[in-house]
Subunit: 346 residues, 2 copies
DNA sequence: ACGATCAATAATAGCGCTACGATTTTTTCG
DNA sequence: CGAAAAAATCGTAGCGCTATTATTGATCGT
């Protein structure tokens, strides 16, 4: 009968210090109104808005996005999966995308696939458990299970940095074989006939392989000689130096070099310098990436400038449009192109 | 009285296709057991575990981390805020940390402060709304509001890439002034007496400034001449070339150059090559960062190799320990050190 | 002036999961 | 063999928020 006979007070849960109800109470409105204010400020009267703003300020209220996401069945997170952010290309895209998404209060969840489809699959699974607003993958090649996971999903799935294959949903990037073609045509236009492609990690990096293939195809079509010299490890200047030496050993009359990226290319340039090979007189060198050092080295490197930051911005735009209810009708393939920076190495 | 008089069926909510209850039903256990299995598999019997695993597999169940996080008042996300992932140093740390966290099924939420404390503050606010398992910031310098936000927080707050100031919670990194000191001592040991520090963006990059200050202090202490030549923009090889020319113009008898990072240093090296300045005979050059091209250039660059990936791994370890309930007692400062790579440019 | 119309606000019912105590089943051992 | 201890499982009550419907108050045309 008395208090002591009651069951012990029901167990308490952990909690957030300041909730929306606290704000509502202080602002003298209902929680619904606070929620509405946070999502659609224009639907709330000026007086209420002011009171709520003040209360939020005073209480230092931080909304709980998990509660919101749970109730709304979708979160303010965007998942992006790249091979590695150590790679300057993807770092560029990730950075520009994060900047663009921040304006819409969307957060970036980052994952690294390390060029491994199995890894990607696990990451996609983990990503989906956040009910993200969109999911961004690198490239068009994925495991069957990944495709299955993404098939039943209603959010935008955006594949970046590669065009030209069947895509899941939307694709933003450029054609890497066209890069190879552009480089080959450039070298041939410069009067080079004996070409070599220096490649790194091409068994894993599909896009490097595509550039190589396009290069070979265009060179052969123009009647030039074109060989490949490659190394299995990640591209670096050191490997570029090694590959250049190897190329000249195997093909002494080479007069034009294309590289799978600028790391390889500057490595080749460094090697030429040590070997007293005149660039571009004796040997023309073209890279890919237009990395930070490429314009400054000796001689300045002719290279392909991809559109890494544009890719990120376009992806963010697509996601924004989708959140605003626009149908992503025709813009399902966005070709962000690339440009050839002609400098003195060719 | 009849059905038509009833109120319309209560409004439906959006929902997830497969929930934990579905799994429980198929596995013939209660939802609690499924939840337990997912969080502490060892606490569930072998028979039940198998049934649940099978059900998860069959239904292709993906847990809803937002629901879980809401109930548990903490999510499986870790927020990391760096100036920019375009910067190879931070890319390294972010990448190694993501790899380490993935093993514990923790996700990385990434934000870019762009060296702006105001931006950082907003990002911290956004980060907190995910109730992350930990929050990682770059450097020890933050706005008062940021400090206030983080003061009331029970999760680990880890500050990386800087030691030597008052920290909020835990700090992992190294002393940048010691880097400057090490470089100065190295140059002096090589017989250099007229030193110049080439710096970029030092008004924003506190850590570059610290390296510079340490350098000047040590040089002066050793009785050497030491000047600073700087540029306000982000470090690049081009700026490095410009700064080198400027340094020689202002201080023609300079015989030793320290750079705020390797981009500047290779730019300086490129400029020396163009100006026919013998390195290291006439001029010694030392960088910071040991970037991918630093060992391959001409001459190979003497530089400081920081511990970016170790910083990421240690941060992940700290977070793991905290999740496992260990008190982060004494290990609140982790000095990951740096090493001087002596190559031929000095 | 009076219902109709519209804008602003409030009440309600979960979203899917976890923590906790309670309950059931199994094991241990005097 | 039976009671106590340990292991395994379950039931309950929210976590903090949003979406939907319901309600209130203000505006308006005739």
């Amino acid at each position: 009968m008395d208090d002591r006979m009651r069951k012990p007070p029901r167990n308490r849960r952990k909690m957030q210090s300041v909730t929306m109800s606290d704000v509502a109470e202080l602002a003298n409105v209902s929680p619904s109104t606070v929620s509405l204010f946070l999502r659609k400020p224009e639907a709330v009267s000026g007086t209420a808005s002011q009171a709520i703003s003040r209360a939020i300020e005073k209480l230092n209220y931080v909304p709980n996005l998990m509660a919101g996401g749970l109730a709304a069945a979708s979160s303010r997170a965007v998942s992006i999966l790249v091979p590695s952010v150590r790679n300057a290309f993807f770092a560029e895209t990730v950075a520009s995308m994060q900047t663009a998404l921040k304006k819409q209060r969307l957060q970036l969840i980052l994952g690294h696939t390390e060029y491994d489809e199995q890894e990607e699959e696990e990451l996609v699974r983990m990503a989906l458990s956040w009910a993200p607003a969109a999911i961004v993958l690198t490239g068009l090649s994925h495991s069957p299970a990944t495709r299955r996971l993404l098939a039943n999903v209603t959010i935008p799935v955006i594949e970046i940095w590669e065009l030209g294959g069947p895509q899941i949903d939307a694709a933003i990037g450029f054609h890497h074989d066209q890069v190879g073609i552009a480089v080959a045509e450039h070298l041939i236009q410069q009067g080079r006939r004996n070409l070599v492609f220096l490649g790194a990690r091409m068994h894993q990096d599909r896009r490097a392989k595509q550039r190589c293939d396009g290069f070979l195809r265009a060179a052969h079509a123009a009647g030039a000689v074109a060989k490949v010299v490659e190394h299995p490890d990640t591209a670096s200047a050191e490997i570029g130096s090694m590959l250049l030496a190897e190329a000249l050993r195997l093909h002494p009359d080479t007069d034009g070099i294309a590289c799978s990226n600028d790391h390889i290319a500057v490595g080749a340039l460094f090697a030429c310098e040590r070997l007293k090979i005149a660039v571009p007189d004796r040997l023309a060198v073209v890279g890919f990436g237009d990395l930070s050092f490429s314009a400054a080295c000796n001689p300045p490197l002719t290279t392909i400038r991809p559109s890494g930051d544009l890719i990120g911005r376009e992806a963010a735009r697509l996601i924004e449009d989708h959140l605003n209810g626009e149908k992503l009708t025709e813009s399902r393939i966005i070709d962000t192109r690339f440009t050839l920076q002609h400098r003195r190495s060719s």
